[in-house]
């Protein structure tokens, strides 16, 4: 069965730390990076456990600042 794996990339310098993306992730992996601050002065959104991503695109859909890009990788298992 083909397993869907996703990869999200964040343009962190555009993030305003609104946290909306963290509310819509079905696998709950989008977090705010509390250890760093971007050029605008916010903690940017990030993902630490990328292997759990299912490429649903919810975070990118609700992001008001087009910070997030989503890729889907298909591999046979």
């Amino acid at each position: 069965m083909a397993k869907v794996k996703g990869k999200v990339t964040f343009k962190e310098e555009l993030c305003k730390g609104c946290e909306l993306c963290t509310t819509v992730c079905p696998v709950n992996i989008v977090k705010m990076a509390e250890d760093r601050i971007n050029v605008k002065g916010y903690h940017p959104a990030t993902v630490y456990e990328m292997e759990k991503c299912i490429a649903c695109g919810n975070c990118a859909t609700i992001c008001p600042d087009t910070v997030i890009e989503v890729e889907r990788e298909k591999e046979d298992k």
Partner: protein
């Protein structure tokens, strides 16, 4: 093999939005830009920017843009569409712009059945000027000019523009959508696409009302604002289609 599922649309310029954190203007800008790109009409689109928070919309859309004075975007769009009927013309207006100072313009543009599309962003408050009460502010909702909340006896009940405009024969497509969740955002995009298709088919005036948040002036975090929209705005401003071209003879 990696497939790109989501990336920034060509319909937006590279300029970062100036909107407050969590402001849903960014989502709505992106939806309009994505629809224009998908319909392949970016090169022949002309947008009309309003006065309000989205006054700088002309910096963000990657198509020809025009600025209108407060509330007069439908009048400017009428002129552009009549002189250049082959162009795709849209106005992008907030509730202070469309439902207050520009009510006459939008009502008469819809009455005449002008063949352009209006994106009406309703966040129930005046954003740019500092959170004053708008005609769309809900009863009981606090604003800087209504510190105890809007009172019905004093300021009346909020205006429902979609319902009002759908009574006009010239209006071909009227729908109210919301951007509070990924599912509703996808529905909103479908409605915006339909509105532009109605314009391309020359069937008459089309408008999509988008319920939006204003975390800064509502005095909430973006997450709380989304919740407030779901709990308070959607019950008063029901989502759905009010008019589609099939009903228009």
């Amino acid at each position: 093999m990696a497939e790109q599922v989501f990336k920034r649309t060509k319909g937006l310029t590279e300029r970062p939005f100036h909107y407050c954190p969590g402001c849903t203007h960014g989502i709505i800008h992106r939806l309009v830009a994505e629809v224009l790109e998908e319909l392949g009409v970016l090169e022949k689109s002309v947008g009309v920017a309003p006065v309000g928070c989205s006054v700088l919309a002309y910096d963000y859309f990657n198509c020809d843009m025009h600025e209108a004075s407060h509330g007069r975007a439908p009048a400017v769009a009428t002129g552009i569409k009549r002189v250049l009927p082959d162009r795709v013309v849209f106005t992008y207006q907030g509730d202070g712009d469309l439902a207050s100072i520009g009510t006459a313009e939008i009502v008469h543009a819809a009455m005449r059945g002008e063949k352009f599309t209006t994106i009406f962003v309703n966040n129930a408050i005046y954003g740019m000027t500092g959170g004053q009460m708008a005609p769309t502010t809900l009863v009981g909702q606090k604003a800087t000019t209504a510190p105890y909340g809007r009172q019905k006896d004093h300021a009346g009940n909020p205006i429902r523009m979609s319902e009002m405009l759908s009574t006009l024969d010239g209006a071909a497509f009227i729908e109210r959508v919301s951007v509070n969740s990924p599912a509703n955002i996808r529905k909103a995009k479908k409605a915006i696409k339909k509105a532009f298709e109605v314009q391309l088919e020359g069937k008459g005036f089309s408008m999509v009302e988008v319920l939006s948040t204003c975390p800064t002036n509502w005095g909430m975090t973006p997450k709380e604002a989304i919740k407030w929209l779901e709990d308070n705005m959607i019950p008063y401003y029901p989502l759905g289609n009010f008019k589609s071209p099939e009903e228009v003879k």
